[in-house]
């Protein structure tokens, strides 16, 4: 079983991100359980989304406390809060770069990839809306858990009703995130 913890603020698309990850694992025949946990239940408040993945249906319904993988959508959450709490010794984190934010150093065999998600998104569309998709591409490259194709399929499914242009821009964001990590 693998566990992913996403740190974001309510409204930053963490649930959609968890859903896309879950869908990608599902397409590979696995059994993901993706779910949110709201803190103050207000736009902008810190919240988590989680994905738990197994090769049989997941029964465990608690939050994720010892994540294998971390996705930090908003690095400002790392100010005054330890987003690495419980992070596995050999865990992998993908962090959305934020100017002026020092990203805490990993411990032991942990790996942390600081990815310019918002910058790449702005390159593609002039807005930061694709930041999470860049992180997903980076996640695939950093963890080897999913291929770019797995995620592309999930994106095409998830954004099908938003039109081909949105799907294409997301596919580009995935690719750029993937390449950023792969180098």
């Amino acid at each position: 079983m693998k566990e992913i913890r996403i740190h974001a603020r309510a409204g930053q698309g963490a649930i959609t991100t968890a859903g896309i990850l879950g869908y990608a694992y599902f397409s590979k025949g696995q059994f993901p359980y993706a779910f949110p946990h709201f803190g103050a239940a207000r736009m902008g408040a810190p919240m988590n989304a989680f994905v738990r993945i197994d090769d049989k249906p997941v029964r465990l319904r608690s939050q994720v406390y010892q994540p294998d993988y971390l996705i930090i959508v908003d690095a400002t959450l790392m100010r005054g809060f330890d987003c690495y709490v419980g992070f596995k010794d050999d865990g992998i984190a993908v962090v959305n770069e934020r100017e002026g934010m020092d990203i805490p150093k990993p411990r032991g065999k942990q790996k942390v990839y600081v990815v310019p998600g918002n910058k790449i998104s702005t390159d593609i569309m002039g807005k930061t809306l694709l930041g999470n998709t860049v992180l997903l591409g980076a996640y695939a490259a950093a963890t080897g858990q999913l291929t770019l194709e797995d995620l592309k399929k999930a994106i095409s499914e998830r954004f099908a009703d938003k039109g081909q242009k949105i799907v294409d821009m997301n596919a580009e964001a995935l690719k750029r995130g993937f390449e950023f990590v792969k180098g």
């Binding site: 879950g22 993901p32 249906p57 997941v58 319904r61 608690s62 939050q63």
Partner: protein
């Protein structure tokens, strides 16, 4: 077909395939996604139903009461304060013998205000005459809605059915769900036809005054029907399994009880976490199992007694509490087991997870550690002593 779906969306889909004629609801977290999706389906004309927008849950319940009284399959959903506001009508729907189906996305009750999951809300209408089912997974929640109409609309039954699914954990969780096709649902659940309806061709009265000469018998008949359900619900689950190939619902389900000498009793999504805890305990040689309450009303008294008769010790996990009394499941279980007299196992009651306090495998181990010790009837697990100290 297997899909990866959010719980609320899966419920909206399965309700759509049940072809209700009238849906009425008022939005409340964490139920909202279900009725938003249904409203969208009606607006898109994918679902040919009347979606009645109302100004409160009291009205939503009244609308489905009225619709069902004209012989139309109806649906509503709510949570927490919404269910409390509905309460008056909820009792009427059962008293009028109208087979409405309602989803309760279980949530804590105010005050203090709390949007997160526990199972306190349903307990406010526990005694209303509704059939109360509890889902462990999104799949089971989907399946129970199909069974709910099947059970409630049975001419021998004619009672409303509530499917309880844990708020957020199941309503906002996404997992792999095997969704029945429209053809499968049409075959399993034919359209609803009843002669018990308000019809000007065949006038009849519903909800007349029952004075002291009649009231006792009418309540007795509801109780009788609830007792008959103890035979019918397992048949419905069996038939469902034959049709869809899955075990869902029934009165109880058991896990690793074959040689168990200790057992947990619980309902809803926490049963999944308990199953994981049991596997850990079993790997250390502890003979422990789970009896899951899938049907809470009628209470499956004989089924739980049969499942627990060879067990030495029972831990009841309640996610609600009758303040001043005990956990509701604990009360029902101890009453049911009292017939075993001298052979009754030692039963302890524990309160967990109120207001969304996360229940981890470790929380279940904490309960397990209490067994073997002093028998308790209503012990809260996971209290933060430092918070309690502040009130002193």
């Amino acid at each position: 077909m297997k899909e990866f779906l959010e719980g609320s969306h899966a419920i909206a889909q399965v309700i759509k395939s049940c072809r209700p004629g009238v849906i009425s609801a008022y939005p409340i977290t964490p139920q909202t996604h279900i009725v938003e999706d249904l409203a969208q389906m009606v607006a898109n004309q994918e679902l040919h139903a009347q979606f009645v927008n109302v100004e409160s849950e009291h009205s939503a319940a009244s609308v489905v009461l009225g619709a069902e009284a004209t012989g139309v399959r109806s649906y509503t959903a709510t949570s927490s304060q919404g269910l409390l506001l509905m309460a008056e009508v909820v009792f009427n729907i059962a008293g009028l013998r109208l087979p409405v189906v309602m989803t309760t996305a279980n949530r804590a009750v105010s005050a203090p205000i709390n949007i997160w999951n526990d199972q306190q809300d349903v307990m406010a209408v526990r005694d209303s005459g509704w059939v109360l089912l509890f889902a462990e997974s999104i799949q089971e929640a989907v399946d129970l809605h199909l069974q709910a109409y099947k059970i409630g609309e049975d001419p021998r039954i004619m009672l409303p059915v509530m499917v309880n699914m844990d708020g957020f954990i199941l309503t906002h969780g996404m997992e792999v769900v095997d969704m029945p096709s429209q053809e499968e649902v049409d075959k399993y659940l034919p359209s609803y036809n009843t002669t018990y309806k308000l019809d000007i061709e065949h006038p009849q009265t519903m909800g007349y005054l029952a004075d002291p000469d009649y009231y006792l018998e009418i309540r007795y008949l509801v109780q009788q029907t609830q007792q008959e359900l103890l035979g019918i619900i397992p048949q419905v689950a069996k038939e469902f399994q034959k049709t869809f190939g899955r075990e869902s619902g029934g009165l109880i389900q058991t896990y690793r009880m074959e040689d168990a000498d200790q057992a947990f009793v619980a309902a809803g999504s926490v049963c999944g976490t308990i199953r994981d805890a049991i596997d850990e305990l079993r790997s250390k040689g502890r003979k422990v199992g789970l009896v899951k309450i899938a049907t809470y009303r009628p209470f499956p008294k004989d089924a739980v007694a049969a499942a627990l008769k060879n067990v030495r010790e029972v831990a009841v996990v309640d996610k609600s509490v009758s303040l001043g009394g005990f956990g509701p499941f604990y009360t029902d279980l101890t009453s049911s087991l009292s017939f075993l007299a001298g052979k009754m196992p030692k039963v302890s009651g524990f309160i967990l997870g109120l207001g969304g306090r996360d229940i981890r495998v470790g929380s279940i181990h904490d309960v397990y550690e209490k067994l073997g010790g002093k028998q308790v009837d209503c012990e809260f697990i996971g209290l933060k002593q430092e918070l309690l100290a502040e009130t002193e």
